[in-house]
Symmetry: C3
């Protein structure tokens, strides 16, 4: 106090304070403007980077689906399934760009959005991200939904039909359910329905489209129920599975739309990994228990089943519950494959048990295991009931509209390849190339001149 007693001292003090203030003001400006960055800006950078990198991984899942399916079909249809997966990505992009994104995330009604078509009229930001970054991440999700269906419809679908339904799934089927659940004004979102990264939105929807497709198509000519038609290339299926598992590290943690909540993203990453782990273990041990064989294709599908099942609850459950959810998914996929045989539904790659049955289970798992609101955590049946409503709503919309879509396609461009083409393999007639021309000469044996509209032999391309 004595310091301030004299006028001179007071002046000194005041001057010091003034200088301090000016210095601090400069320091603050240095943070805020001098660096051309603010804390907010950097947080947006971090979140955008996370979402874009996650989107790259989700995009790469298209390759994963492609190789998994290619490995699980016969060599005579490998070019076809690769072409489907590759082109599905592109056709869905066009549909999602034209209308899907707007229907899904635009404002409008509780049932669909009515803005942002063709990327027009976008706001400054969506969910705190640059709109185009958000669009990119969401486009990658839409592509996954339509590609899942191709697995159920493998080895007999007309390629033009595949292009058309992929476009329509991205344009209108997938986005409507997405709007219900992920748009702020969606009616299921309003009810408190939770689906963190898309067990229902992506996986169940894709599986329902495919289920409708396989039912309208009917079984493959060569399929005898109760017997497995083995895939032609297990390493290829392994590549697909590993890429899908990797891609899920974008799919689930990217759905936080940011990386600033570090505990959330760490939990989600670990839960994702854990569910895949126990899904694979349980499914292959079941196969060993029943058949005496360590069926690695069951391990692949088991890991994917765990990944699908943890997709909805990944942000809401503990790692221990993730291990449990994965284990249950492994059980479900094992018996699910048998169930498809019993029901005489031809699902060449096991896509419905993986994406459909476990899409449902994962969605309900929130109602069972969520730390906040789950039945087994004392939350009662309220959340579980809401989850069930969401699942039923998705089924009630997607399944009939898909049946209708495939029926119309069947009656117009045609849904299924001709019988002799199916027997010979789709690759030769539809794509003009064999998957391994030096190793599968039979793929070229089909005479192609007989078919109208096909001008050249499969072996040649006019220059």
């Amino acid at each position: 106090m004595t310091l301030l007693r004299r006028r001179k001292t007071r002046r000194l003090f005041a001057l010091t304070m003034l200088m301090t203030g000016v210095l601090m003001l400069f320091a603050n400006l240095a943070y805020a403007q001098g660096d051309e960055h603010s804390l907010s800006d950097l947080a947006i950078s971090i979140n955008t980077m996370w979402v874009l990198i996650a989107g790259f991984l989700v995009f790469f899942m298209q390759a994963g689906f492609g190789f998994l399916e290619a490995g699980f079909v016969r060599s005579k249809n490998v070019v076809n399934i690769m072409a489907e997966n590759f082109l599905d990505t592109t056709m869905t992009t066009i549909g999602f760009w034209a209308a899907g994104f707007g229907i899904m995330f635009g404002s409008g009604t509780p049932f669909f959005g009515t803005e942002w078509f063709f990327l027009s009229g976008l706001p400054e930001e969506i969910n705190g991200l640059p709109p185009l970054a958000f669009f990119f991440f969401q486009f990658a999700f839409s592509a996954a939904a339509s590609t899942i269906a191709s697995g159920l419809m493998a080895e007999r679908t007309d390629f033009r039909a595949d292009l058309i339904y992929s476009f329509l799934v991205g344009l209108v089927i997938y986005p409507v359910v997405g709007h219900w659940i992920w748009a702020s004004d969606g009616w299921l979102a309003g009810m408190g329905f939770l689906d963190f990264a898309g067990s229902t939105v992506v996986h169940l929807v894709g599986a329902l489209v495919g289920l409708a497709g396989t039912l309208v198509l009917g079984k493959r000519i060569d399929k005898e129920f109760g017997k497995t038609i083995r895939g032609h290339n297990i390493p290829l299926a392994a590549i697909g599975t590993f890429i899908l598992w990797l891609g899920w590290f974008g799919f689930n943690p990217g759905s936080t739309l940011g990386a600033t909540d570090v505990n959330a993203i760490a939990l989600i990453v670990l839960n994702t990994d854990f569910a895949a782990t126990t899904g694979a273990i349980v499914a292959i041990f079941l196969s060993y228990a029943y058949t005496g064989k360590w069926d690695v294709s069951m391990a692949f599908n088991g890991s994917l089943a765990g990944l699908v099942a943890i997709t909805a609850p990944c942000a809401f459950v503990t790692p221990t519950m993730a291990l449990l959810i994965g284990a249950i998914a492994g059980v479900l996929v094992y018996y699910g494959v048998d169930l498809m045989e019993t029901l005489k539904i031809d699902d060449p790659v096991g896509a419905f048990p993986v994406h459909g049955i476990n899409g449902i289970f994962g969605t309900l798992a929130i109602g069972l295991f969520a730390t906040d609101g789950g039945l087994f955590y004392g939350g009662g049946f309220a959340q579980l009931g809401v989850q069930l409503v969401g699942v039923l709503a998705a089924i009630a919309y997607v399944f009939p509209i898909s049946l209708l879509m495939f029926y119309i396609i069947k009656k117009t461009v045609g849904l299924r390849v001709e019988e002799n083409i199916e027997r010979a393999g789709i690759d030769g007639f539809y794509h003009g190339i064999a998957s391994y021309p030096e190793f599968t000469p039979g793929a070229y044996s089909l005479p192609t001149k007989e078919y109208p509209g096909q001008q050249v032999s499969v072996l040649e391309k006019s220059s």
Copy 2:
């Protein structure tokens, strides 16, 4: 005001201010030093992370090129093409480390840099990044340039020649054009020439080297123009294409050299994806229109054509223009493949239509479609003219020097494998292993003892 009326009050006020000041100083220190981070530091972290991760993806493109080319050649030359792609990466690294990086980015003349050889004398930072991070990203680019050439020269090039030209491309051919365009004192940069991520710098340069190579080599013995020699493994080509598309998400957005401009990186990511999308669609639909076949290899090359074409303009055009640029690229690659047949230039994997023709188109596309300065946006012919100068300059330098390089290699170590080796396949004689020894026994049939300098049989390796 009354607060300050009495001396006692003033003292209290002064003390409060002093304490406030001290507290705030501490708070500021807490931001600046206490946390050991400043906003600038974190921005550098974000940018470095982005560029390194982008570099990982660009590095992985070497695998993409390798599998695409491996899938498109015959099984007897698969080990060779994999070895070329794998070793190209390493040889280019040595060349780029020794001199390429310094020539490309060092200061010196408008035509080439004259510092930073062997990473010596690096500054504290380059373009706001740790110099080694910048070097890593740029090395990955240089590797892409030299690998592109191997596609045009596939199935007949001497492996030693491949190692030598890869080294020289990274050492001196690629970096000179790079300096003109990307160094701050480059003469094309000074003219206002724009090439955001390298349609000219990487793709056109690589394609021109390869074009010179294939012209000096001549066509493959088995090649009949107007007929396609089918690749041996379509799934392998699909893996390559998917990896390349993924890698481009590093190639283009990483070229921002940072992630703090979030709207820019989001735009670039989406434009990259969109151009690939329409490139694939247009190319496969053209193939269907002309041949009645959905040629998936055309879809692969179409997507890559779109990616090459959007590489230069990705930061300067709207997403809608990216869709258009990709579509045009799809047209160009389709007719480009035919053009190579007509001109009787043997390009086994279609690398020149993809990287050369679309490298040129992508560079010119800035002059046509750039929101700022493009012809169709009212910018007149000024930018287009500058773009054309850059393309012509790159051709005028790279093509003759590459012809000279291959001519010298031809006259010294030899450029082309012997005829009977080419017929039997390069794998057995040059590499001593077959790509699929259990499935391609013919690869072992060539007697190897006859050739001087080859001490052991292909089947054995002395321990």
Copy 3:
């Protein structure tokens, strides 16, 4: 000074100061709370994102190991090796979750940790990261260790034995050495032993487990020492190698546990790449010098040898030394493969020369080449001596305990498949599927009914 002379002026000044103070306080709050982010928070976000993305890449290395090994074995054992790599990941996860993580990183004794079992009792953060993010990154490392062993034991190991030892490696073998070296209270860490990213912790440990395994197993029936049994699929091995190289960009730079030290991560990334580069070049040139063949499988193993060798010293050496370390690794792996033949140790994929010999070399390389403390940098023999102690300690623990483990497995569940199964291939009998059923019909020829406990034929699965 005159400014403060009058009372009125003083009041004005005081008011100004007060306002400035209040404004600055607000500004500070805006940084700290208004944005809901602080600099510390963002730094943690950046570090967490880096470690998680690095973890994704390390996880993907499981695919890399899988395809490398699958490519290097014969087609009759491909499903088996893929199943091993896939399930190793999962079994190690369970072991590492149950106890491994706690033993490795928990506090306790200098020899092992005694907390954090089943992820219980985790603190708020570990090494500045969310504990689950740190766990995820470390789990991916543990999986690598156990997968390395499968390469040495390929083509003859009982699948159940593989599952058991993978679990035990993750549970207790790997974590103990990890505790010595990477836990803050580890006894080797206390001595100043350095192993930045795990040349000893991961690679030498995995190789020692595998060495014990192959010694207890004995050689494959078909193996003649001095002759190479060629892998069935070189492109598959190439995919594996490229993925591993990519994954190492997570393995080494992720081990910084953060991205805020940008110069460190840039140096580590570049060193990692450089060592792989020279490793590949030197190994393939040696193969050419000795055999006249450019053996691409040697280039693959050479790059991996360089990567293993740089893993320990990547943060402590210059890029030029990284090039040298990689080159030495290439020499070591080349002669190492011969050494295994001379010692009559059957190592089907060359895993011991890559991970064992170069794990040792990389660890010692710190003592030789570290800028701070290396012998060739004037540091004398002190660091080198400590490094040698660490290597010997790891060998003294891992090798005997692994021998014991495999001996017990051999005497209980059995370690090796029966002779006729080994001849026919493991895929058919153990896994019930062939890797390429259309191309390897022989894989189905083994009668399976004769074996007790195997209920169904390999061709059918009861629904």
